[in-house]
Structures are given as C-alpha cells and as structure tokens.
Amino acid sequence: MAAIEENQYRVRVARSASSGIATEFAVVLEERMTVLDALFSIQRNQDASLSFRCACRVGMCGTCAVNINGVPRLACRTRVKTLGTQVVSVQPLPNLPVIKDLVVSLEPFFAQWKKIKPALRPKDPASKELVRVPHDSNYARNSAGKRDCITCGACYGACGVKESSEEYLGPAAINRAYLRLLDPRDSAMKERWQALNEERGGIWRCHTQMNCTSVCPKGITLTDTITRLKRAALSPGQFENR
C-alpha cells in the first residue's frame, strides 16, 4: 500500500468474502466527510463490489448502522474527523448474521420485535374516533424521549446480553413494548407483559451495562426504560390507569 499522505485516512472494512478479514483503503479526507461518504468513495473509486446499506443519509432511517471503531453508530452521522483516529475500522453490526461485507440480516432483531406485539391493538377496533393524548398526560410525560426509535439495531449490536443470549428481546423491542403499555388506546397489555416477564428473554436478563443507552443514535435512555419496567413488574397495576 502506498504511503499515507496528509489528510488521507485509512479505512479498514470487514469483507465477508475473506471471512470478515478487513481490507484497507486509503481515502482522501474532505471537510465534514462522514464514514458513509468514505464508503461511497471506496465503492466508486476503488472497489465497486463493496456492499453496505444506506437510505436517507440524514440519520432518520437507521439503515446505515455499522460498527465503527468498535462502537455501533450510524455511518451517515459519524464524521471521520471526530473519531480522532487515522485508521477507521468499519465492521458489520455485532450480534446479527452477515449477508455481505457490512450488510447484516435484521431478521433476528425483528423476530424479537414481533414477540412483544409491536402494533397497536385498539381497545375498540370499530371506533373511528381519534383519541386525544394531552401533552401533560401520563403517556406523553413517560414516553418523552423514548418515541424516536428508528430500529437501526445499534442497541442490539452493542448489547452485552445479546452476545450470549439468543432469546433476549433486546433493548429496542423492550422500549417498543413500554410505549405500547403506556398507550391509553392499547388493549394487549397481558400478552406484552408475558413476553417482557419471560425468564430467559425478558427484562430480567438485562444486566444494566447501559451499552444500549450509550450507542443509541437518537439518545433514547433504553436502560432507563428497562429499569422502569422492572419496577413496574414488581408493583403490578402501574399501567392500569392510563
């Protein structure tokens, strides 16, 4: 490899064809360049076979979540300069099966997501009335800052419990269940609690490592959600008067 010039970065990308062994590319740094820009630059100028996912490029869709320098982050929201390293290591999200290069299958993530019945189950399915949720209601207060999940899978990739437990729901699914439990329109409380209270996969598997909170690109305090649910499980009835 040629000598690295000033303002040139080395981007080390995990490749599935070589069983995850990284290939190193030299990329010239442009002002405000993100890791996603660097990946595009590699794909356009050096290796067209490099695979990665992206969609919105503004941190709204969560498609481009990858492991950057050992931490799950959104490639489109991570500026290369802010990493503070001359070599940037990009790997697929941990705890998920790799399809190709940086592309992982989110199948296990959504399998857990489905377990908590993510969709709203209205109390009165025939009702056409809109339910008013005042800003100072219990739901609005307790769900503040927790409604922004973009299902990027960063928390799932960072979770230390997920490393050793296939059954664990994962922080994102638990957060979703919490929002549904708070929702005054919802009627599937019993089924959700069943999944949350499950011995091997439920909230009790969380060891409060807080990796999920640390990596969430939307700043959701996921461990706080889990500890709230643990406390609620110990004093039932908290979600009854929504």
């Binding site: 960072a158 409060t208 490592q209 807080m210 990796n211 640390s214 461990t223 706080d224 500890t227």
Partner: protein, 117 residues
C-alpha cells in the same frame, strides 16, 4: 472507553463478587476453629499475621470498596437515578472516590502490617 464503561463495571462487579465469596468461605473456615477452643483459634489467626496475608488484606479492602460503591451505583440506576451520568458515576463515584477510601485505609495498613513502622 466511555461506551463500554457499563460492561467493564459489570465484569469488575462479578470478579470482585467471586473474590469476596472466596474470602467469605475462608473467613467462615477460620471462625469454625472456635469450636476447637481458644488455642486452635489463636493458632489459625497466627497464620494470617505474616506480611503476605497483610497484603491480601489490603487487596480485600480494595475489593470490598469497589464492589460496594459499584453496587450503590447499580442500585441508583435501578431506582432511575443517574441514567445519563452512569459513566461519571462509575469513574468518579466508584473508582475515584473508591481510590481515595482505599488509600486512606491501605496506607496505614501497609505501614503497620507490612513495614511494621
């Protein structure tokens, strides 16, 4: 480092927990000598008076402090306190404050127990 502080804290909590369990077993084993009378108990205690065991005692102090302070941190988090400051709680609260407590106890223990000053 900050991202995986919680993981490091959990690993340390487990290691110190196991070490404290080993100490507890040794402690109960020694106390058990009381059944054999004062002479047997004194003989058992004499084993722990050499400098090697004094050093282990200092290490025990560090283990207890770290385990206890990190335990307080986990309890606070379980009560919903300090979720956004958990990294500072660990480094400043458990490690930093713990180090001060450790030095306050370990220095006199070292001087008196090991150096016999």
């Amino acid at each position: 480092m900050n991202v995986y502080t919680g993981k490091l804290a959990q690993i340390l909590q487990r290691i110190t927990g196991v070490l404290l369990l080993i100490y507890l077993l040794l402690h109960v084993h020694t106390i058990r000598e009381l059944r054999e009378g004062p002479a047997a108990f004194n003989a058992a205690l004499a084993t722990f008076r050499n400098p090697f065991f004094k050093l282990l005692e200092i290490a025990l102090l560090g283990t207890v402090i770290l385990h206890a302070l990190n335990g307080v941190r986990i309890t606070l988090i379980d009560l919903g306190i300090g979720h956004t400051r958990h990294v500072k709680l660990f480094w400043y609260g458990a490690v930093g404050f713990g180090l001060l407590l450790f030095l306050a106890g370990a220095i006199p223990m070292f001087l008196q127990g090991v150096l016999k000053v």
